[in-house]
């Protein structure tokens, strides 16, 4: 069964450093998402991406964040200058796009980001 994959599984970085989190969505899916989950808290939407542009973003997704689909398979989340409060589990998700908002979002296993 096709799965969303994410790398690395765990990333440790120093405050102020740039990090890139990578995701490979399910092949033939058209919509891509990033969510984050701060330890012990609920999962929060960051951004959605379709047709090579951002569809929607949350208040969390400020100028320090960016997303990109550099090739036909990868979908990346970049944090330009990490802060302590960016420490969280980051989940990538994708949907086929056939049913719009009724589509099921399939999530990857997550990348745990630790900012020191």
């Amino acid at each position: 069964e096709p799965e969303v994959t994410q790398t690395p599984s765990h990333q440790v970085t120093q405050m102020g450093q740039e990090v890139i989190l990578r995701c490979v969505p399910i092949s033939n899916h058209l919509y891509f998402y990033w969510y984050r989950q701060i330890l012990g808290q609920k999962v929060e939407f960051l951004v959605s991406f379709y047709n090579n542009e951002i569809s929607e973003k949350s208040e969390i997704f400020d100028d320090q964040f960016s997303v990109e689909r550099p090739d036909g398979s990868n979908f990346t989340l970049k944090i330009r200058s990490t802060k302590l409060e960016d420490s969280a589990m980051y989940f990538c998700a994708s949907t086929p796009g056939a049913s719009g908002e009724a589509d099921t979002q399939y999530f990857g296993p997550g990348t745990r980001l630790t900012v020191l």
Partner: protein, 115 residues
């Protein structure tokens, strides 16, 4: 704005007994409702969803959920709990927003099934 409430942080149930994990929602327009399960150090696994039609939705691993429009609820149920069902369960909602299709999650309910 859309929101989800999961009023119970933890639910304890004995193996073999029925379980219910509660969820209520608030959304403009027709809701699309989802349940996901998260095992320790794992991602979110899709269990089931309600889009339209029959109010009782059946999903993976014997779980089902009942959509109740008047009570704006979407409670997750299972007739006979297993120890292996112990995990963190998230309810989520979305609706037609004109773009993005973001999911709004509840705070999660930790289900503990004991022998």
């Amino acid at each position: 704005a859309q929101s989800v409430a999961q009023p119970e942080d933890q639910v304890n149930v004995a193996e073999g007994n029925p379980l219910t994990v509660k969820c209520t929602y608030s959304v403009s327009g027709n809701p699309y409702l989802f349940w996901y399960v998260q095992y320790p150090n794992r991602g979110l696994q899709f269990l089931l969803k309600y889009i339209t039609g029959d109010n009782l939705v059946k999903g993976s691993y014997g779980f089902e959920a009942e959509f109740n429009k008047s009570q704006t609820s979407f409670h997750l149920k299972k007739p006979s709990a297993l120890v292996s069902d112990s995990a963190l369960y998230f309810c989520a909602v979305t609706s037609i927003t004109g773009g993005g299709n973001k999911l709004t999650f509840g705070t999660g309910t930790q289900l503990k099934v004991e022998l």
